[in-house]
């Protein structure tokens, strides 16, 4: 049976995901293997070294760099308070005395006899790493982090902005081809994960911010509205740190595109449940896609034998696929055939193609690279 490798986005009712939660610098892991954790629970902690303040002591005292040690009152490693005297000279006439005071509270990190510079460091800042999803710890990486595993439903988006969040899923529209308008966004959606349909306009984005939703999940958005939301034109798809008031996840792409029926149905089936969300997208090496993870509720019926999703080796005839390039961008159909020979398309390029059959029975020939598998079927 012919098949083709094509990347796809996972939309699945039940799977097991593992999320590696790593500190950005070595610290302390607070949980143990096998422990159940909550999404908002700290699983590791690190101390981010404080800001560094260089101070050119040699210049301020008017001495040679290798002489500064003689004038230092505080030595490397000593704590120091703001405005406390760090160093002073000892002139014969007292009123010619120069004192150098610390601009911060912190510690003296080093004093260089080569540059005459003293480095002061502010106290460290505590960074807490949260579990992100309700699940269990399956691996502890000493000093660095943990791996959390959860049985869940999973929806991957194509693009997102904003970081990790969470909240109760609420469906704001009646069908996946309906646009999300300001009137759909009500005050009771505060801190919730709002699922729309095909499109969100700029006024609905403003309303979402006003309401204080945790996340908007939507089929598409116009690039100009994204630009207005961010305040700049996004050049490369590396996101996750934006601060626009909520996390935004696109399931289909840019423009007005109905959310895939399967995605909408899955999210609708979990309305009222808590979801863990990440808008972080990195379309580069080690690709990261935005995601909606809905952990299985305690007491829910089990899925015997379900482990991590088996790896798909490509598209096969009969698979459900999404067309991801104009002129049929966003259309969903199933693979009807996969001719082996190269075919000439209207651009005159000779490429490998697939024949896709749509719900109305019509067919179209599409370059294989312009097809995306809807995974988790």
């Amino acid at each position: 049976m012919p098949h083709s490798y094509t990347p796809g986005l996972t939309v699945t009712e039940h799977t097991t995901v593992r999320r590696r939660r790593m500190l950005s610098l070595p610290g302390m892991v607070l949980v143990t293997t096998g422990e159940e954790v909550r999404a908002n629970q700290a699983v590791a902690r690190a101390e981010l070294p404080g800001k560094v303040y260089p101070l050119n002591l040699a210049n301020q005292l008017g001495v040679a760099p290798d002489e500064i040690q003689e004038y230092l009152i505080k030595k490397a490693g000593d704590p120091v308070r703001k405005d406390e005297v760090l160093a002073e000279n000892k002139p014969l006439i007292k009123w010619l005395k120069t004192e150098v005071r610390s601009p911060i509270t912190g510690v003296v990190e080093s004093a260089s006899p080569v540059t005459g510079q003293v480095l002061l460091r502010e106290p460290p800042r505590v960074l807490e790493l949260l579990g992100y999803v309700d699940g269990r710890i399956v691996e502890v990486i000493p000093q660095q982090g943990v791996v959390v595993e959860t049985d869940c439903s999973l929806v991957q988006g194509i693009f997102g902005i904003g970081g990790e969040t969470g909240g109760e899923i609420v469906i704001a529209v009646t069908s996946p081809d309906k646009a999300l308008t300001p009137r759909h966004l009500t005050a009771d959606m505060k801190a919730k994960v709002v699922v729309g349909g095909s499109f969100i306009s700029s006024d609905a984005l403003a309303r979402a911010k006003e309401v204080g939703v945790a996340c908007v999940v939507i089929g598409g958005i116009h690039d100009k509205d994204l630009r207005a939301l961010l305040g700049y034109d996004l050049g490369v798809a590396i996101t996750g740190t934006e601060q626009v008031g909520f996390t935004l996840i696109l399931t289909e792409g840019f423009g007005s595109i109905p959310m895939a029926g399967k995605t909408f149905a899955l999210l609708s089936a979990h309305a009222g449940q808590q979801a863990s969300i990440s808008g972080a997208t990195q379309i580069r090496a080690g690709v990261i896609r935005p995601e909606i993870i809905i952990p299985r509720q305690a007491g829910a019926s089990g899925y015997p034998g379900i482990a991590a999703m088996p790896q798909r080796e490509g598209i096969r005839i009969g698979d459900q696929v999404r067309i991801i390039r104009d002129p049929l961008f966003g259309k969903i159909g199933e693979v009807a055939s996969m001719p082996a020979d190269l075919q000439k398309i209207p651009t005159e390029s000779e490429v490998r193609v697939m024949e896709v059959r749509f719900a109305d029975g019509s067919k179209a020939v599409i370059p294989r690279t312009n097809i995306e598998l809807i995974e988790g079927a």
Binding site: L25, G253, G286, R325
Partner: protein, 612 residues
């Protein structure tokens, strides 16, 4: 003399190399080619490609490699793979290959931060050392870069480079500033991009007298490597030792951290080269062999690399966020919508165009299926190429290459004038590579994209990498020069033809120049080129014609305004392009007039199929 691009240590290969499979793992696509010895010469016989597998669930670059090789297997009938292994050496005439080699720019390439003392001296030297080794320079820190000390420290902390190159000071000179920079780096405690626990590789290539202090300050904080000063005296650069160290550390540290690279290194029979370094090897070889001034470009999905060799001096720059897929949206952001739209010969509303560009950014492996989509991509490519050349011109200015002597007064003169080494009137050859140029459905599309973007002046030959195999041949040349040369000459380099472009401007339809072309068979073609004309004259790849051209008095072809020239011009698969559109190239500002001009030019050279 130019700087030979550093190559990894040459591996010892004892068995004969008759069948070679080579891949380039790009940010978007992994391209595989099969090279076979046919009689006495090597030929490229089959190619395959597959999306680079950095996406979940694979997250392993070798999957894409195996997929691309599987396509070659399917087309050639040769069994190359045994499960996840490449069969080496050949078992018989239809099984296995003698070696597998690869280049890579997946993983975002090699991202480096460099430091110097004086920004325009050691800072620039460090930048050139890193760029020449195939890196993307994400920042240049210098004692005089205008940033306050705490800002420098914050910058080092927030950037997560793969590697840092420190330079500064001449040997025997003052150590203070370079030690100060070491203190800042130490205070910042820089973290590498990949891997939380491994130490960030840091190369120190500054004043040798400061080595003990730098070692004391940084030895515990980074994987410190000391090498020769890149600027031992002010008048001389010595980039090779630092470049070689960059290559070593790239293989030893950085690639080991990227997804699947450990496996890739094990699979390959020779060290993996960064793609730009491999292409650089090829560009230098062409320039040296033919004694040419050339500009080469490799336009990829994430980055556009520009190479130049002028008077034997090699330069390379990388525009990290100018590319045709991952970075396509950034081309729009940098060039502006109007600059892209000026190349599109039809009307499209801004919203639709912006959405289409963003959709390509989030789904980078897609290809244009319709003619209008192709024309939009070609328009964007023109702007990416143009911006990357501007970037290159701004950096190809100072000292070039090892042992390149110049006096202090030259240094100051250059700083004042900022004069680039790129002289478009002295340019002999433009070489294009990368998906959009190599895979353009018609070769004339590649030629006009480069002509529009670079606006060559006078007489300039153009060529293109046939199916994008320069990286493969670059790495191949490190293990078998004959194989690389054979394939390069016969299968890789496609000469498009020659562009003749008078410098000057005039009203559309006014006389620009008179020409007489004498063809090899003795036939003579006399004509007049008017401003606003774009003309294509057939001249086959193996043919050379003579053109005598008399420009009008305000127009220059390299010999001075109004002075005639006679030149031999080479043919190509496209032919001889006479470009009377003026230099600088100016497009009508009125929308309808611009669309009409583009339509006329595109139709004059048969750029796109006619839509019936």
């Amino acid at each position: 003399m130019s700087v030979p691009s550093p190559a990894p240590t040459k591996p010892v290969i004892t068995h004969p190399l008759n069948v070679i499979v080579a891949t380039d793992c790009g940010s978007t696509t992994t391209k595989a080619i099969l090279i076979e010895k046919v009689g006495d010469e090597y030929r490229q016989t089959y190619r395959g490609e597959a999306p680079t597998t950095v996406e979940a669930p694979f997250e392993d670059v070798t999957r894409g490699v195996l997929n691309a090789i599987a396509e070659i297997e399917e087309l050639s009938g040769r069994k190359i793979l045994d499960g996840d292994k490449i069969i080496t050496p050949c078992r018989d005439t239809k099984t296995g290959v003698d070696i597998y080699i690869s280049t890579s720019s997946a993983g975002g390439g090699l991202q480096m931060m460099v430091t110097g003392v004086v920004q325009n001296m050691t800072g620039e030297s460090a930048q050139r050392a890193a760029l020449g080794a195939g890196a993307i320079v994400i920042d240049v820190l210098a004692s005089n870069d205008g940033r306050l000390p705490h800002e420098k420290i914050e910058r080092i902390r927030t950037m997560r480079p793969d590697m840092i190159l420190m330079s500064g000071g001449t040997d025997g000179g003052a150590v203070t500033h370079v030690v100060e920079m070491a203190e800042y780096i130490s205070a910042a405690e820089p973290r590498p991009r990949f891997g939380a626990t491994y130490k960030l590789p840091l190369i120190y290539a500054g004043n040798k007298d400061a080595q003990p202090q730098v070692k004391k300050i940084l030895n515990e904080k980074a994987a410190l490597v000391l090498t020769d000063n890149i600027r031992p005296v002010l008048e001389r650069e010595n980039l090779a030792p630092a470049r070689n160290k960059i290559h070593d550390l790239f293989l030893e540290h950085v690639m080991q951290q990227a997804p699947g690279y450990k496996k890739l290194i094990e699979m390959a029979g020779a060290p993996i080269m960064p793609t730009p370094a491999a292409v650089g090897v090829i560009m230098e070889t062409i320039a040296k062999r033919e004694h040419l001034n050339l500009i080469g470009v490799d336009i990829g999905g994430a980055t556009t690399d520009v190479f130049s060799v002028f008077e034997g001096l090699f330069n390379r720059t990388v525009s990290a966020n100018l590319g045709m897929s991952y970075s396509i949206s950034n081309v729009l952001a940098e060039a502006g919508l109007a600059n892209i739209m000026r190349w599109v010969p039809f009307t499209i509303d801004e919203q639709t165009l912006r959405n289409r560009i963003k959709n390509k950014m989030v789904r980078p492996t897609t290809i244009p299926q319709t003619l209008d989509e192709l024309q939009i991509e070609h328009a964007i490519a023109r702007e990416a190429l143009r911006l990357a050349l501007i970037h290159h011109k701004s950096l190809a200015t100072a000292l070039k290459g090892i042992q390149q002597e110049r006096t202090i007064s030259d240094v100051f003169e250059q700083q004042q004038s900022g004069k680039t080494l790129i002289d478009m009137l002295k340019l002999d050859l433009i070489v294009g590579s990368g998906g959009i140029l190599s895979h353009a459905p018609r070769r004339v599309q590649s030629m006009l994209m480069m002509v529009d973007a670079y606006e060559p002046l006078g007489v300039t030959r153009l060529s293109v990498d046939s199916i994008f195999m320069m990286p493969h041949l670059g790495v191949l040349s490190t293990i078998n020069e004959k194989a690389a040369t054979d394939v390069f000459v016969r299968d890789c380099m496609v000469y498009l033809g020659t562009c003749v472009a008078p410098v000057g401007q005039g009203k559309s339809g006014e006389r620009c120049a008179d020409y007489v072309i004498t063809f090899p068979d003795g036939r003579v073609d006399k004509g007049q080129l008017a401003f606003g004309d774009l003309r294509l004259i057939p001249l086959a790849s193996d043919q050379k014609a003579s053109i005598a051209i008399q420009p009008v008095k305000q127009v220059n072809l390299g010999a001075g305004a109004g002075v005639s020239i006679t030149r031999d011009v080479h043919g190509g698969v496209v032919g001889l392009m006479l470009d009377g559109r003026g230099r600088p190239l100016q497009l009508p500002t009125d929308h309808a007039a611009r669309v009409a001009a583009l339509t006329k030019w595109y139709s004059a050279v048969g750029l796109y199929p006619t839509v019936s």
